[in-house]
């Protein structure tokens, strides 16, 4: 696990967000260290997605400060967040079914070779790099297969490989295990371990308690737009987290 004195990848202080009269987030502080897997839990409407969207650059916070790797950042668009090294793996994975795995990994950042004034795609280099990334993730995914023909676990691998391509330092995963089989869940959790091994910080947004307890180092519980708990995973229990989510226990 990362040492306590390392610079946090992400540091939020006093983050708040209002939509008109609705207070979606209030005074949220949090830190994510390199190589740390943080579980973000909470019921629907607890403010998880608002928080994720602020970090990913979809929304600007109404209050508070966001620091990335020690320096203050302000994101106007998702592209800005991606530029500093924050990647999001969306729930629906945002893959194009009709393209190959390699094409999806490199979508929007294709490798090209110049032939005079014309730049053509470098298929070979992209396939080789994609294969390397799938190898790092220990996923048996062929770069030339169409995403359409892939299993849920392989699709996750493609979506995660995309984040590795840019050398992201923080990967946020939105419900990666929501709609896949038990066997594939195991594969996805394995992928999260691979990211951690490479020093990437992961934020796992999930409803599934067993998954969070299987991979996370720390769990953060949100309720009614506020952070109610932030505990190392071995100091808490699924029962306590459930109580925090539902409000049976106010804070821990």
């Amino acid at each position: 696990m990362a040492s306590a004195e390392a610079t946090p990848v992400l540091e939020l202080t006093g983050i708040g967000k209002e939509f008109g009269a609705i207070r979606a987030l209030h005074d949220v502080d949090m830190k994510v260290l390199p190589g740390e897997v943080v579980g973000l839990m909470g019921d629907n409407g607890a403010g998880k997605s608002t928080l994720v969207k602020i970090i990913a650059g979809n929304f600007r916070p109404s209050h508070g400060e966001m620091r990335f790797a020690g320096s203050a950042v302000h994101f106007n668009r998702p592209v800005d967040a991606r530029a500093v090294g924050i990647e999001v793996v969306y729930q629906d994975l945002a893959l194009s079914d009709n393209l190959t795995a390699a094409a999806n990994v490199f979508l929007g950042r294709e490798l090209k070779r110049k032939f005079g004034p014309i730049a053509l795609l470098d298929h070979k280099a992209m396939a080789a790099r994609a294969l390397e990334l799938f190898g790092e993730l220990r996923s048996e995914t062929r770069p030339d297969d169409l995403v359409k023909q892939m299993s849920g676990g392989q699709r996750q691998a493609v979506a995660i490989a995309r984040t590795r391509l840019s050398n992201a330092r923080l990967v946020m995963m939105d419900e990666p295990t929501a709609a896949i089989s038990v066997r594939q869940v195991e594969q996805v959790l394995g992928l999260i371990h691979r990211l951690k091994e490479q020093g990437v910080a992961v934020m796992l947004i999930s409803h599934r308690m067993p998954d969070v307890f299987a991979v996370c180092d720390r769990v953060i519980v949100m309720r009614r737009g506020e952070k109610r708990a932030d505990k190392p995973i071995h100091e808490t229990s699924p029962e306590e987290v459930t109580a925090l989510i539902t409000g049976a226990k106010e804070a821990a």
């Binding site: 009709n98 979508l107 950042r109 991979v215 071995h234």
Partner: protein
């Protein structure tokens, strides 16, 4: 906290897809091509005239007359859009081209003094620079197509209007403008450059019709663009999953506008070529051609849901339609049957594709 999760991940239940289940062999384009080959063999036995040089030239010329526009529409279909304005666009571009050519070639006409002068006999009009009038008038024809394509693309990509409604409106607008500028009479290419114009549009090189040569060049270019440039990659991604394309940072609006502009330019070029063959650009030229063009693209395997299509499919679709038309004529079947048969083939092609995708 390392968890006991270190067993290597394997997908032993996922086999490698066999070569005949991939690429062209598994596509609608593949078996429509096969159907076409069968049809050609049948035609050979059914009519001794089919494989004569004259008839093949005729077929090649005829399908080239819609195939270039089909290439353009295929681009639009791949991104999951539709362009109904191609027929009107063909007419309008052709009309503007021949009107500009005539205007520039008439001494006393607008700007004509820059381009032509009277010969010493006082009757013959001579070009100042041979070919310049032709160039300017074709650029004018393509220019109006470019503007219409930009408007289509702007409405669809920026304003978020439905492609069907936008291009249906453009169909009417452009056709209407054609009637307005020509007063409903149409126009004729004329002046000293008209001979070059006819040579370029309806002439042939070593027996190969000129439109066919343009088609081959454009189709090859399109294949390279679609499969070997990032623009083409983005076109496919957009058709496969527009939201994903947006999230991965593809400039969706720009790609969409570019695609509608390409389609309009292809239609404009097609119209100019057709007018060379007809010798005029009547105001009702290419009416309802958009249906033939879209039908050809769909028969050739372009998927109206987006994400699938290519130049080979577009050409195969056009050839199939033309061979059937030609075959019906040779077999002395009433040409009125053609349209019915085309409809049946569209449904059959899509049906076979559906059955195949259910089976795999």
């Amino acid at each position: 906290m390392a968890m006991p999760m270190e067993s290597p991940i394997s997908f032993t239940n996922v086999g490698k897809i066999r070569w005949w289940q991939r690429g062209i062999f598994a596509s609608q384009t593949g078996y429509v091509l096969l159907a076409l080959a069968v049809l050609l063999v049948i035609m050979h036995f059914a009519s001794p005239y089919f494989f004569t040089q004259g008839n093949i030239q005729n077929v090649a010329k005829n399908f080239s007359f819609i195939a270039i526009a089909t290439l353009g529409v295929t681009f639009v279909i791949i991104i999951g859009g539709i362009d109904l304005s191609v027929g009107s666009m063909m007419c309008f571009s052709a009309m503007i081209t021949s009107m500009v050519m005539t205007e520039l070639s008439t001494p006393g006409g607008l700007g004509a003094s820059l381009f032509v002068h009277m010969a010493a006999d006082g009757k013959t009009v001579l070009a100042n620079v041979p070919g310049l009038i032709l160039l300017v008038s074709i650029l004018a024809g393509l220019g109006v197509a470019l503007i219409a394509g930009l408007v289509n693309g702007f409405c669809i990509a920026v304003l978020g209007l439905s492609p069907f409604v936008t291009t249906l409106g453009m169909l009417s607008i452009v056709r209407g403008l054609g009637y307005v500028v020509s007063n409903g009479r149409g126009s004729f290419p004329g002046g000293p450059d008209a001979d070059y114009f006819y040579a370029l549009t309806s002439g042939d090189v070593l027996g190969v019709p000129a439109p066919f040569i343009y088609l081959v060049i454009l189709a090859l270019t399109m294949a390279v663009v679609l499969h070997h440039t990032s623009f083409g990659r983005h076109v496919f991604a957009l058709g496969g999953n527009e939201k994903a394309a947006e999230l991965t940072g593809i400039p969706v609006v720009r790609v969409k506008i570019e695609v509608y502009v390409i389609c309009a330019l292809a239609a404009g070029l097609q119209g100019i070529i057709i007018s060379g063959w007809l010798g005029s650009a009547p105001a009702n030229m290419a009416t309802s051609y958009e249906l033939n063009v879209i039908a050809a693209a769909v028969i050739g395997g372009a998927n109206l849901a987006g994400g699938i299509g290519g130049p080979l499919g577009a050409i195969v679709g056009c050839v199939l339609l033309e061979v059937i038309r030609n075959g019906l004529v040779l077999a002395q079947v009433s040409s009125y049957w053609q349209q019915t048969l085309v409809g049946v083939i569209i449904i059959l092609a899509v049906l076979v594709d559906r059955i195949r995708s259910r089976m795999t």
